[in-house]
Every structure is written in structure tokens, then in C-alpha cells.
Symmetry: C2
Subunit: 205 residues, 2 copies
């Protein structure tokens, strides 16, 4: 199969997901090695958890939560990715997600840059990415017009677009973040990256 | 540090855990490469889930459950381990766990062989390892006296031993299976094997 005939990979994530961040730093390069493009889909995990009956991995002071906080950090070190535990967690991500889809409609490469910048703002610089001002600042640094984006965040079209993406995620069986789908095969979690590479190398194993 | 001075690794698992099975097939060899021994601790995940507020990964017909069934199989293929989805799942594992501890008190190498045989009986041969007869058959094939073991499964000492191990697991922060602890650092899931290898190679990263 020529590279152009290969289907794009779908990458579903929430901007508040540490493992989503780790996957975001790697997935494009892994896909490109195998002639694949990646479609990024920020979604709202709160809605996904409610609809799918799944639960957030971190939920208070349980043994599992304590483990996860350490594992986020250790997994980042293992993957060679900068990471700092944010003080505020989790955060609402609808502003960042809406901004992504609005940017994507105008310049998809810029939207990709924006998404990575949002993740780094949250998981490296510890910024409050739930705040519209933070989202506008991040986009502004990439040359986006703040006023236009601020208006877009309130537009019914962009709100509907995000809702449609969340519905599409549920229809595709997405129950968490990151969730990667390659030719119908689902891979959940940043720790599935070796399996994703294996799958892309072998065309399924 | 000489190899003999290195602390053993603790490996906590439930005989009904597919990822526990995958870890069981690999952990001793990985540890041995780095001069480490492994202490195996079968436990009862039902008790752990109840006490830790955690939940089983597979819980019905949700998107996540469907994903997990496929992921068990794919993870086994990725790791080069035989695997067949059992028809009965999950199964009660107190008989297998009690038999393990009784055997361990007599011959720890035999107990290790027995543990692997129980896992393969469940996840390769699709046997009902909850049944005392299955447990006795597996042990019998390893030369264990059936009558002695059958009596041991009912003994208060062995029941208390298993209870003590579950309590020790909870005290160590164990919330699922497999759960590996190396010098105080916890690794949850068969997918953490690359991090375990990285950790053993570098002495922590």
C-alpha cells in the first residue's frame, strides 16, 4: 500500500490528561515513521466518563491515586518528556478544546502547535488552562488574534463542534484518554505506544 | 552492591488476573538479569478492590470491558505469551492461593512451578481453577500428595496465611494485579515491564 493510501490514525484526548500529554508528544513522530498522519480530537473526559460508566484514574487520596501521581512523573521520565505535577488538577478543558477546533478550521498545522502548547502550559508550566485568558495567551503567542478567538469560544458553531466530537468519541468506543484508533484497532493509554509501533510495523500482529 | 545484597522484588497478583499472568511469565527472568530474586504473593483482588475503593478492569459489557478483552489477547501476543480468553471469568482464587502458600512452606521452587501451572491452566487451557479438584489436579501433576493438599486447603493456618498476605498487600498500597514493588517503588500492570527493566538497569531513573 502506498503511504497516501494508508488511513489516518485517530488520537482522542483530553487536555487535562497527563497520559494524553505524553502520547501527544510522541504520536505524530511514530505515525510519520510508518507513513501515517494523525487526526487529533480533543474531547471532554467528564462527559465520556459519565456516558461510558468509566472513572477518572485519580480520584482523591486512595492508594491508586498516590500511585498515579508518581506514575505520571515516572512515565514522563521513562519517555524522556518534561513533566511537572500541576497544582490544579483536573481542570475543565472546554475552552482549550473549542479553541483547538476553531483554529483547526483555519489552519490545521497551527491547531496542532496550539494543542501541544496547551499541554506544555499545563504539564510543564503549571498554568491554569481552564481560564479563557490562558487559552487566549497561548494562542496569542502563536500569532492568533485574541479578540477573534475570544468571540469564537462563545460561538454556537464551535460549541456544537466539540459536542459532535465527544459524541463521535463515544460512538467509536472511547472511554478514556489517550485513546488511539488505527484501522479500527483501539489502543488505550500512553503505555500502549510500544504496541502501536509494533502494530504499525507489522500491519497488525 | 553485590547481588546478594540486593533486596528481593515483591510481586503481588491474583490468579484470576490476565495481566498478572503476563507478568508472571516474565518477572523472574527480568529480575534474574539484574541479580534479583522475586517473592511471589498471590492475593484476593475482590478483597483488595473492596478495601481500596478500586474497581475490576472488566465489569460487564461497557466499551472499556470490550477493549480489555481484546487488549489481554493483544498484550499477550505483543509479549510472545500464549493466551486464550477463558469462558469463565473472573474466578474465585482462594483455593489456588491457599495451595500456593502451603506448597511454599514446603518447597518454594515447587510453589513457583505450581503458580505458573495454575495461570496456564486458566489462561491457556481454560480450566476452572476455582474448583478444588482442578487445583489438586494441577498440584498432583507436580508430584504433590492430593490428600495432604486437600486437607491443607481447609486448615485454619493456611486460611490465616492468605488473609495475612492480603492485609500486607493493602498495607503496601497494592490496589490491583499485577503490582510489583522494587525497593519501595511500585509498578502496576504488565505494561510497566519496560519501566521495571529500566529501573533495574539504572537503579532508579
Amino acid at each position: 500500500m502506498t503511504d497516501s493510501a494508508k488511513s489516518p490514525i485517530d488520537f482522542w484526548f483530553d487536555f487535562s490528561s497527563p497520559y494524553g500529554y505524553l502520547m501527544a508528544e510522541k504520536i505524530d513522530a511514530v505515525a510519520a515513521k510508518h507513513g501515517r498522519k494523525v487526526r487529533w480530537h480533543p474531547i471532554l473526559l467528564g462527559v465520556i466518563f459519565q456516558a461510558s460508566g468509566s472513572r477518572p484514574p485519580v480520584d482523591g487520596t486512595s492508594s491508586k491515586s498516590k500511585y498515579m501521581w508518581n506514575d505520571f512523573h515516572r512515565s514522563a521520565r521513562h519517555m524522556g518528556i518534561p513533566y511537572k505535577s500541576p497544582r490544579r488538577f483536573p481542570l475543565a478543558t472546554q475552552n482549550a478544546a473549542r479553541a483547538y477546533y476553531w483554529l483547526h478550521g483555519r489552519d490545521c498545522a497551527l491547531a496542532r502547535q496550539f494543542a501541544l502548547a496547551v499541554y506544555r502550559a499545563f504539564f510543564v508550566d503549571d498554568l491554569d488552562i481552564s481560564a479563557p485568558d490562558t487559552v487566549l495567551d497561548i494562542a496569542g503567542k502563536l500569532g492568533v488574534n485574541r479578540e477573534e478567538l475570544a468571540a469564537a469560544l462563545q460561538s454556537p458553531e464551535i460549541k456544537a463542534r466539540l459536542k459532535d466530537e465527544v459524541d463521535a468519541a463515544l460512538a467509536a468506543g472511547v472511554f478514556g484518554s489517550p485513546h488511539v484508533i488505527i484501522d479500527g484497532e483501539a489502543f488505550f493509554g500512553a503505555d500502549r505506544l510500544p504496541q502501536i509501533e509494533h502494530w504499525l510495523e507489522t500491519g497488525g500482529f
